[in-house]
């Protein structure tokens, strides 16, 4: 409802246009939402802005005294409420209605000048386009265009940067890949060379060992004849010296056999036949053989931890025997006179037997420990003792244990002895003689 005193006044007073616009808007709002609600909406809009305009007796702001800011807040407040309830299009149409009512009183120029500033952007766009001068429109479009261009340039700049970064990363990655493959390939080839060299070395040893066998056998046979008196009676002194020669020869034969043994294991000429095997029997057997040697040095061997119903292990009896022979032979060889050797068998993790062979001999120095299982390796302190040893014993032992699926390790301190421990798998069934190469 208009205030009729304003009706016919086509005033050029600029401010009146804005005031009238607000008035019209408020009236429209009242008819949509009711007076009370509109008043509350306006009040909370102002409290949000933390401003409080002067209000009239009806609780509504005094429009004549309102400045541009105040009017803007009022318009926003109403338009938000309207958008919430009826949507943007409807709200825009309300604005258009108010403007067209205004245009009966005010000129287009005045409305553009006074009302446009208090209307939030987005509203009355169509009307703006219609009424704005071509120059103004062009200016607005240019402004927008410049802004968009700027945004676009920024984005393109960012994309160019990212792309450059990515390309640099890819280039580095490719280069790294090249280096990796090259290194890998070089390593593979180096390994191949080493393997070939190793083969040559083994081949050589094998040939030499084979060649030595015959002459050594010859010497053994000859000495035997002499010692037995087959070639004439000997004096005691002569016999003693011949026996020394015989012993030395036997030692050489043993060394040569060691070397041949290692070669056979390496070349896979050795076949394994796995059966359930009783370790206690093997150990007892080996100890029986080594007893004279041990007694000669006064060494005590303790094999007390042998459970009477020890489970059988899955293994090749001949090879396992070689393992014990080697370890115990070493233990005796490197023990001091009156030393102690202890052998124990323990059930380990339900699937294997743990064997320990412990001596208190010369032990293995720390810096030599990592090589102890290598072929032909003899620790410095063993070499110093001037005992025999091809350095193959432990190599063969490790090979055999691992073929059985077990593991071998040791603990040692120089001068205090060494404890070798290894595992062997339990026989999986109680059925006798399961040959792995036959299925039943």
């Amino acid at each position: 409802m208009f205030n009729s005193s304003h009706q016919n006044k086509k005033t050029t007073q600029a401010k009146d246009a804005a005031v009238q616009f607000c008035f019209l808007l408020v009236e429209h709002a009242k008819s949509m939402f009711g007076s009370l609600r509109v008043r509350d909406v306006i009040t909370s809009a102002f409290s949000l802005r933390q401003t409080s305009p002067r209000v009239g007796s009806d609780g509504f702001p005094l429009l004549e005294e309102a400045d541009e800011d105040t009017m803007r807040v009022l318009v926003i407040g109403i338009s938000n409420e309207c958008i919430k309830a009826f949507g943007f299009s409807f709200t825009d149409s309300v604005f258009e209605k108010a403007v067209s009512q205004l245009s009966k009183q005010f000129s287009e120029e005045v409305i553009v000048h006074e009302v446009a500033p208090i209307v939030p952007s987005g509203f009355l766009e169509e009307w703006k386009i219609k009424t704005l001068s071509k120059e103004e429109l062009t200016r607005m479009v240019n402004e927008k265009t410049v802004a968009l261009q700027k945004l676009n340039d920024e984005l393109e700049g960012k994309i160019a940067d990212r792309t450059k970064e990515q390309q640099e990363l890819i280039f580095e990655q490719e280069r790294a890949a090249h280096i990796l493959v090259r290194r890998d390939s070089e390593l593979m080839q180096a390994n191949e060379q080493l393997r070939k060299l190793d083969d040559v070395k083994s081949g050589f040893i094998s040939v030499v060992a084979h060649q030595l066998r015959t002459p050594l056998s010859g010497i053994k046979w000859t000495l035997n004849l002499l010692i037995n008196g087959d070639l004439g009676v000997l004096s005691t002194e002569q016999k003693t010296f011949l026996m020394k020669a015989y012993e030395s020869n036997d030692r050489m034969i043993s060394l040569v056999n060691d070397m041949l043994g290692a070669d056979r294991i390496e070349s896979g000429k050795v076949r394994y036949i796995f059966q359930p095997v009783q370790l206690i029997d093997i150990v007892d057997n080996v100890l029986f053989e080594l007893l004279p040697q041990a007694n000669a040095k006064g060494i005590a061997i303790d094999f007390s931890t042998k459970p009477l119903d020890a489970p059988k292990v899955r293994g090749d009896a001949e090879k396992i025997r070689a393992v014990f022979q080697n370890l115990l032979d070493n233990a005796i060889k490197y023990s001091k006179p009156s030393g102690h050797i202890k052998i124990s068998l323990l059930l380990h993790s339900q699937k294997e037997v743990l064997v320990e062979v412990k001596d208190d001999g010369i032990g293995i120095p720390k810096e030599q420990q990592q090589n102890i299982f290598n072929r032909f390796f003899r620790a410095q302190n063993a070499v110093k003792l001037e005992t025999d040893g091809s350095g193959l014993g432990l190599f063969i032992v490790k090979n055999i244990v691992e073929r059985h699926g077990g593991k071998i390790a040791f603990e040692s301190e120089e001068g205090k002895g060494v404890t070798f421990s290894f595992t062997l798998p339990l026989a999986t069934s109680t059925v006798p003689a399961t040959d792995p190469d036959v299925s039943t």
Partner: protein, 400 residues
């Protein structure tokens, strides 16, 4: 207990004796006077005819299929030196139909089809449960041989097996059927009847570097990558020093560990193609085709991955037996894996045996290529997609 298997192994210098001894051992361990079929894997160093004659002198007319290798494998692991490994199988309730397709060099597809033809003629309508095929990739496209076989057998028959080797020389391989030695051929045997088979196939190689596009290729010959001669890929990666060697040495010897991989549907692993030869213009002949337009990656082997997936392949194969008891294991492992593992190649066989059983008779060889259904490995009764692989380990378990 109607499927029995045993393995015999022999080494030595006399080709005839080595064959005879291996056969003797296999039969003795089998425990019955005659086997139903023998699988023979022999070093190419032996006189092939003499070796085969040696075997036949013991086994007479027992059905025999086999081939030369780049290394033999038995229950005790990879055999370190030249040998003859034989698996003897007795299986009541299983019929075996064996055949050969010759002259892969003149037509790989035709050779595969000829083999299939020979088999189906003998089978006379019996339902075939599996086909074990041993081929040659030096004279022809390995994948085409498989496709040829499928064209005759149909795609309900899983095809497993491998490409024969020659101790890493890449000159000539041999295939055996009964008393005859072939070269450049494919031999195979189909099984029908009461048995279960499980197959696992994996490689574990990983892609490295950027993808390259195959801009020109023809069958198994790769001409250009990204518009440049194919060999440039290896020249780039190996560096100038090694690149010079590439032109002189057989490419396979240098590059088999760094093959080419491409993505294929139906498998979460890349399908790998080994490079075999390079020619003067820089084109590379691979063991099987890489289609024009494919994106390929250079692949690099990792020992840990290769070992891990070997276990997976074994587990997959075992799972497919669905509770049946494993009676025999046949392993087709790429020679590249043997090179990758080096002295430790026993570990790969160990992990398979850990899964399947330490004492199950096992035979196998290091191949120049493998045959197995791709990806989804259960294919008895469903459509199999048997393809040609490289760099993989194929674990085949026979059970009942």
């Amino acid at each position: 207990m109607s499927i029995k298997a045993s393995v015999g192994l022999s080494q030595g210098d006399d080709s005839h004796a080595v064959g005879a001894n291996a056969a003797q051992e296999a039969l003795e361990r089998l425990g019955v006077p005659k086997a139903d079929i023998l699988f023979v894997f022999s070093s190419s160093q032996y006189d092939q005819e003499k070796m085969l004659a040696g075997i036949r002198s013991v086994t007479m007319d027992t059905l025999l299929v086999g081939c030369s290798t780049a290394g033999e494998i038995t229950t005790e692991g990879p055999v370190p030196r030249a040998s003859v490994a034989i698996m003897a199988v007795k299986a009541d309730g299983v019929s075996f139909f064996a055949g050969v397709g010759e002259l892969i060099g003149e037509g790989a597809h035709q050779a595969g089809a000829a083999l299939a033809d020979s088999i189906t003629k003998q089978a006379q309508g019996a339902t075939l449960g599996a086909c074990i095929m041993l081929s040659d990739v030096i004279t022809g496209n390995g994948a085409d041989v498989v496709k040829g076989a499928i064209s005759g057998l149909g795609d309900l028959v899983p095809i497993v097996g491998g490409a024969a080797g020659d101790d890493f020389e890449f000159r000539q391989t041999f295939q055996y059927l009964n008393d005859k030695v072939y070269s450049g051929a494919v031999v195979g045997v189909a099984l029908s009847g009461a048995f279960k088979m499980g197959t696992g196939v994996r490689h574990g190689w990983i892609p490295i570097g950027l993808p390259k596009r195959v801009t020109r290729s023809e069958g198994s010959v790769l001409h250009e990558l990204d518009g440049r001669p194919a060999i440039s890929l290896y020249e780039e990666y190996f560096g100038p020093e090694q690149a010079a060697e590439l032109k002189q040495e057989t490419l396979a010897r240098l590059a088999i560990m760094y093959p080419l991989g491409m993505r294929v549907k139906g498998s979460d692993e890349f399908l790998i193609r080994d490079p075999i030869f390079a020619n003067a213009t820089g084109s590379i002949t691979c063991a099987a085709e890489i289609p024009e337009g494919s994106d390929i990656r250079l692949m690099i082997g990792s020992r840990e991955e290769a070992l891990r997936v070997a276990r997976e392949a074994a587990a997959n194969a075992l799972a497919q037996l669905a509770g049946a008891t494993p009676k025999a294991v046949i392993i087709f492992s790429s020679v590249a894996r043997s090179k990758l593992f080096g002295e430790r190649n026993g570990e790969e066989i160990n992990v398979v045996q850990e899964i399947v059983g330490q004492d199950i008779p096992l035979v196998g060889f290091y191949t120049y290529g493998e045959h197995a259904p791709l990806g989804k490995e259960v294919c008895i009764g469903e459509h199999c997609n048997s393809v040609f692989h490289n760099e993989t380990i194929v674990v085949v378990i026979l059970g009942e």
